[in-house]
Amino acid sequence: MSRIGVFICHCGENINGTVDCAKVAEAASRVPGVSHSVDYKYMCSDPGQSMIKEAIKEKKLTGVVVGACSPRMHEPTFRRACAEAGLNPYLCEMANLREHCSWVHEKSEATTRKAVDLIKSMIEKVKLNQPLQPIKVPVTRAALVLGGGIAGIQASLDIANAGHQVIMVEREPSIGGHMSQLSETFPTLDCSQCILTPRMVEVAQHPNITLHTYSELESLEGFIGNFKAKIRNKARCVDEKLCTGCGMCAQKCPTKKISSEFNAGLGMRSAIYVPFPQAVPNKPVIDKDHCTFFQKGKCKVCEKVCPTKAIRYDQEDRIIDVEVGAVVLATGFDVLGTDFFPEYGYGRYKDVINGLQFERLASASGPTLGVIKRPSDGKVPETVVFVACAGSRDPAKGIEYCSKICCMYTAKHAMLYKHKVHEGSAYVFYMDIRAGGKMYDEFVRRAIEEDDVKYVRGRVSRIYEEDGKLVVKGADTLLGHEPLEIRADLVVLATAGVASSGAEELAQKLHVSYDSHHFFAEAHPKLRPVETNTAGIFLAGACQSPRDIPETVSQASGAASKVAGLFSQEELTREPLVAVVNRTAPPLYSTCTGCGLCMPACPYQAIEMEEIRTRDGTVVKVAAKVNPGLCQGCGTCVALCRVKAIDLQGYTNEQIYAELMAL
């Protein structure tokens, strides 16, 4: 027979003002199985807690119900008190008499009756509560960082500097991400490469960081603290250990007319190449799709010229297994190409470029050595039109969200252009100027006031070529909505920032949620911005939504500190509110029929099928089994199981039925 203790809290007048607490306590005392029932002014106060502890000891209570505020507020408090008195904390439940009763109803009989109902139902529930032990899982103190942009770099360095191992995976031949392509950066106009390359080198040299470039994640299994990852090292066709990065191969490779990804299509590279001179690692890869030897079976010039004999045409992809305790997703973003825009020519006009291409034109290390020249004929443009929100905030054809970074980089572009071509005219077509950030609006004002950039409020309807000029038809809504035509030499579209290609597949591989635009979803938009809903997987940078460098770096450090916090523990403890499949004595072993329905329904892949064997090893039955490390306790499987073989600890069928029966 249970011996339940009931403790009704007045919360000063907060509860007692509307609910007759004494009456509730009295009613509770008459419920079978209740051996102690009191009311008190402030249950959470020290004397209140002592009351509970003493009652547990004196009356040898087998369960405790506290009728007070929301369990979301004080459940931990009272469970701790129970534990201190030697009662398993999971034998304590709270009835919400304040938020769900006294604060929301008038003082009346009915309100007190409701309070009694709430208490009674918790008494019935707690009678069926089982003592539970928190789940302990070990932690592998190594982190997997996916993506080697500034987000991945920052997160890796922070984690590595905290003394933990980092395995960094970057799918391109070099780390650096988009930041390595930028010319100068707002709002300070410092040179992007100058601040980035030292960090890249630091990553390469850090004793705690293992770098896998030209690699991708093959699969990820396991759970927080205990992930197993497979990484595919794509064949570079170059022996990295032998290669000294001398560059002879790229210089001599006869296949040179390949559009350079790093230069956003504005420059050329060879078939064996290093994406850019400051690349980390500074080791080339052979682009098999373009290499003459791989395509036609002849050439091998690189092999001949390589002084260290590092070329390996027969190299194959390698799969590497690693074990990690946490994952940081930092796979960044992409921008739309100009061919996305029908009314701006479907990418047909060479002198309509996107923002990244402009960065390359303005970069001292770019294809024009930083001189702004238009792609079609290499002339310095006299009039440049910048089009903001290209593809962004365009539910019809593009994406409905604001890409956040383009207002700022457009102001920067216009400014850089004016700094380089003093006599030129720069126009910016915009809808709103979004420049929230330290020194951001000042930056935009500088472009307008000091550099004479003309901001036109309106969208561009169409761009076409006529007489060697690009005719830009827009509207100035501040000038009475009349159409406006500007004949430009160069048009720069601030194209929308979108999820990096392959983000959706990656999210599915990792079982993290993502939004309809394939950006990874944070656990809570305000309070858990660097966590995903999957424990142990964290987010950094533009893979969550487009963002600028300062924000990316702060988030990366945030994610790193979460990882470091995780790794500071010997073992992880988790609430034991997980599903279990019942196990009965032979001959049944379990009422589970092995139908397997629960398996695909579990959002966390926590359920597997297990063979139950007799002592001599013969399989007698296949039954479901829940991995308590993975189970998050949602209960979906329980609702689904037709024979009710699977149940959720803390919310078992019988507990809830009992609770209902008392209501």
Binding site: E343, D394, A396, M431, R459, K473, P483
Partner: protein, 186 residues
């Protein structure tokens, strides 16, 4: 301009527009792209985005100005605006509605009357013959607008080229057309 009135009353122009066509003026975020691409914007007294703005704001006199505007009549339903509007505001549909409203409230712009007559003449021709009778159309239109000389030079040449027929085509089942006209109240 007057003060902001609460024009979101159920009989306000935007409310009626939404009710009968589904076009919600609040969707328009005033980017001006429609006006920028409209081939006839220069001929209009209010460009499409401006009409939308006036509908959104609903200041005293705005509705009247819109219904009396020439824009309604010069818009050709070329659909350029709608094809490019990022917010998918169906401006041609809106124009159709406003035009009909302008006719029924007798607020047709003086310069729009010619166009109205043209369309009416054409529909008359279809009503009585079942098809479009071009000579009749031109003659009827010119008569209605007293614009006799406008195309005087062109018609005989078209006739010589075999492009104009002096007698109309009649379809057989003209009753079925009368029915359509009656039932649609045209």
């Amino acid at each position: 301009m007057g003060a902001i009135t609460h024009s979101r009353k159920s009989n306000s122009l935007p409310a009626l527009l939404q009710k009968f066509t589904g076009v919600a003026v609040s969707r328009c975020y005033q980017c001006g792209k429609c006006s920028a691409g409209c081939p006839l914007a220069e001929e209009m007294d209010y460009t499409p985005s401006r009409i939308l703005r006036m509908l959104q704001l609903g200041l005293d006199g705005h509705e009247d100005s819109i219904l009396r505007s020439f824009s309604l009549w010069v818009c050709l339903a070329c659909e350029t605006c709608y094809a490019r509007c990022p917010q998918e505001v169906d401006i041609p549909k809106m124009m159709d509605f406003l035009r009909a409203e302008s006719v029924s409230r007798k607020k047709v712009n003086p310069r729009g009357r010619d166009l109205l007559k043209f369309h009416q003449t054409l529909l008359d021709s279809v009503r009585y013959t079942g098809r479009l009778y071009e000579v009749g159309l031109i003659a009827g239109y010119k008569a209605r607008t007293l614009n006799i000389f406008q195309d005087l030079m062109l018609a005989p040449r078209l006739y010589l080229l075999g492009k104009l027929k002096l007698f109309p085509h009649f379809i057989k089942n003209r009753k079925s057309l009368s029915r359509i006209y009656e039932k649609t109240g045209a």
